[in-house]
């Protein structure tokens, strides 16, 4: 699907720090975290520093005092992406956020209290913050984004569904611009899930899978002559449940795009690494030098911003295949407008 979405704002919160510079050049630090099921076994994780002043300031907001870490990641990345937008423009801004596990830390805490201390101990303060759209509501209310607002769930490709949603809202005239975001928070329960899936093998290997957390967002509008960075095409919905099916899904997805476009690599540490290698072996590829870890929809958003940054140096369009971990494969194409044809 051709999209013609101009990217007019960007924001990121990563384990390497807060802001675009950290996203592009920062280096995350490992934290060793034990499995819930085997406290003697620890695995490296890339966590966001919640004590970063950029994040701490949101923790003082009255509405956000009880919020889950994912809310702080989101609201900070959103504020960066909205920089320069005045109150009246914000009132015409939509918000769509893609999540995989959403408010996982509070959900786990809430359920753990039920299991360990009984149903009577369940916290009424915690439960509303476990809901997927609570962080979306917090961001919209805090930054006064009065356009449409959706929380979307899914694997990494929910990021593409969010972009598709933004396109639809702009087409329908629901908003003047849309803030599209991806966000995840880490909880040690997910470490157990990854370990059970076999994704945490090769603890010392260069291509090891490291769970991460954070958020990123892009502010988009329908592209006009003054816009330079454009998300020009998206495709998704190529489903799989097994690796062979993922290979076939990836083939169907990539056939939607110009085969000469350089591809941005993102699965070097992912369980679909082999699929990426097979499908892109005859293509020109680009990648980022620094690994930020795996944070599902947040990673999809980070990688979109990183692919965007390569447009300047490459002077050619870039295709970013989004390898969904558990459902489907999608891709998006980015380009700069106004390139000379020679």
């Amino acid at each position: 699907m051709k999209t013609d979405l101009a990217i007019i704002g960007q924001g990121a919160v990563t384990p390497a720090g807060v802001g675009l510079d950290a996203l592009l050049r920062g280096s995350p630090t490992e934290t060793m975290v034990p499995l819930v099921s085997r406290p003697d076994q620890q695995w490296p994780v890339f966590k966001v520093n919640l004590k970063d002043p950029s994040l701490e300031r949101w923790q003082k907001e009255p509405r956000l005092r009880r919020a889950s870490p994912i809310t702080y990641f989101l609201v900070e990345a959103a504020e960066q992406a909205l920089a320069g937008l005045d109150a009246s423009a914000r009132a015409q801004t939509g918000l769509v956020v893609a999540f995989s596990t959403g408010c996982l830390a509070y959900s786990r805490r809430f359920f753990e209290s039920i299991v360990t201390q009984g149903q009577k101990s369940a916290s009424p303060a915690l439960f509303p913050e476990t809901v997927f759209n609570s962080p979306v509501s917090h961001v919209a209310a805090t930054l006064r984004l009065e356009g449409a607002a959706y929380a979307l769930a899914g694997d990494e490709t929910a990021w593409i569904a969010a972009l598709r949603t933004a396109w639809l809202w702009l087409e329908q005239g629901r908003c003047k611009q849309v803030l599209v975001m991806g966000a995840e928070e880490f909880d040690s329960a997910s470490l157990d899930a990854y370990q059970n899936a076999g994704w945490l093998r090769n603890r010392e290997a260069a291509d090891r899978f490291i769970p991460a957390e954070g958020a990123a967002g892009i502010l988009v509008r329908k592209a006009g002559p003054e816009d330079s960075t454009v998300l020009s095409q998206i495709a998704d919905g190529f489903i799989f449940r097994s690796k062979p099916q993922a290979l076939a899904a990836g083939q169907r997805c990539l056939s939607e795009f110009d085969p000469k476009t350089a591809c941005y690599l993102s699965a070097q540490h992912h369980w679909l690494k082999d699929i990426e290698q097979i499908l892109l072996r005859d293509r020109q590829t680009k990648e980022s030098a620094i690994y930020l870890g795996e944070a599902s929809t947040a990673s999809a958003a980070w990688n979109t911003l990183r692919a965007c940054s390569l447009l300047d140096s490459e002077n050619a369009p870039i295709l970013f295949p989004v390898w969904g971990s558990t459902h489907q494969i999608g891709a998006l194409a980015l380009e700069r407008t106004g390139w000379s044809s020679n």
Partner: protein, 406 residues
């Protein structure tokens, strides 16, 4: 370009029945599905009752595959199948006739029952056979279960806007068709009762230990339920190509976020008024044209007062021309499925003229007392019907269905 959007198929599994006709018959007869909850232990809860759905048989699935399905998928698959069959989108073996079918779906908890099983096991330091449940708990897995069971793929969107999600998913599907993004979309929502969510509402004291009494001055809380409802929405031309007669039009959609509070609506219900106005404007109708409203009506003290106020404001002098009921007293609050199941009831009211009664009323809220549907009320000809939902986080949404001739 805005194209017309029609509904050509619908399907449901609810606590009142395994399909649309069973559910509707029971609903119109004034039955309710409230019963002791037996899916999980509720010893430490204030409440112990819910509206549970019977899981329809899925004879075409192998036992091993059936075992891997979450309760949510067991609710969703038969409802989708019924909707696709009605829209004549299934072949003789029960598989989708179209390989690519965009899917706009809603849920709040997905396959959370599997997630709970996994958490319980790792907290108990259990070390083996954990992958099965955790691999199937995320909501995209229920979408994938449906896609694989029915044999289609394509872009999918899972809206998780709490209890307004179902209306959002359907409204979004309508906008996809209206904008030309898709000619035909499968849409709806599903929700299975789970302990985490049940205990969550219980600890908020949002559930009732008495009868669920929407729009009653003595209301004391909600009844939780579960279910699934799905629709096929498409352009009339697309339906005509298959020789399918549209059931009705999906003519209006409005949605907005109420910033007032994470779990409480603005007391005057102003955001809901704005949302209903947006839906009415997009449908090209005035409030007085809307003959029936399937209200959100959770029966919580905070929700129903604000919602009643918003109907008073929205309908103004034409309030007496409409009829209103909340069906949550009959099937419970189905959360991520509520917007879909209740949209189905609004649609059924539109096409049959029968109105779901407002159950358990003793002392109705004065603002809406005259317009709440009485038991065994005579059918009436409707031209437009509306379904309204509100959710945590301040999600508000409204859908309007219109008869084809309009």
């Amino acid at each position: 370009m805005k194209r017309k959007v029609v509904v050509t198929g619908m399907g449901a599994v609810t606590p009142l029945g395994e399909n649309v006709s069973e559910t509707w018959k029971a609903l119109i007869a004034g039955k309710d599905a409230e019963a002791p909850l037996e899916l999980f232990e509720t010893k430490g809860c204030r409440c112990h009752r819910a509206a549970t759905a019977a899981l329809p048989a899925l004879p075409d699935l192998r036992p091993k595959e059936l075992q891997r399905l979450s309760r949510a998928s067991r609710l969703a698959i038969p409802a989708v199948r019924e909707a696709l069959a009605m829209a004549r989108l299934l072949d003789s073996s029960g598989r989708s006739l179209v390989p690519i079918l965009p899917f706009s779906v809603s849920t709040t908890a997905g396959g959370m029952g599997f997630g709970e099983e996994f958490l319980r096991d790792i907290l108990a330091h259990k070390r083996s056979r954990l992958l099965g449940p955790v691999a199937r708990y995320l909501s995209e897995q229920q979408v994938l279960d449906v896609q694989i069971a029915l044999g289609f793929e394509g872009p999918s969107l899972i809206v998780a806007n709490a209890c307004a999600s179902g209306a959002n998913a359907i409204g979004h599907a309508a906008e996809m068709v209206a904008s030309g993004m898709a000619d035909c979309v499968l849409t709806g929502g599903f929700e299975a009762l789970t302990e985490l969510v049940y205990v969550g509402f219980d600890c908020l004291q949002a559930t009732t230990t008495e009868r669920c009494r929407p729009f009653d001055l003595k209301r004391s809380g909600l009844l939780l339920g579960e279910g699934a409802a799905f629709f096929v929405v498409e352009t009339p031309e697309n339906a005509e190509r298959r020789g399918v007669q549209p059931i009705c039009r999906l003519s209006g959609y409005g949605h907005r976020t109420d910033f007032f509070h994470l779990t409480q609506p603005q007391p005057q219900g102003q955001v809901l008024v704005d949302v209903m106005r947006e839906a009415a404007n997009s449908a090209g109708v005035s409030p007085g044209d809307i003959g029936y409203v399937n209200a959100h009506g959770t029966a919580t003290p905070v929700n129903d007062g604000a919602e009643a106020q918003s109907y008073w404001t929205f309908f103004e002098s034409s309030l007496d021309q409409t009829r209103i009921s909340s069906t949550k007293a009959a099937i419970g609050h189905t959360l991520g499925a509520a917007g879909s199941v209740e949209a189905l009831f609004a649609l059924q009211a539109l096409i049959t003229g029968e109105l779901p009664p407002q159950l358990n009323l003793q002392s109705p809220i004065p603002e809406v007392a005259p317009v709440l549907v009485a038991e065994k009320e005579a059918p009436r000809a409707l031209r437009h019907a509306m379904s309204v939902n509100l959710g945590f986080g301040g999600s508000n949404a409204a859908l309007i269905f219109s008869r084809n001739e309009n």
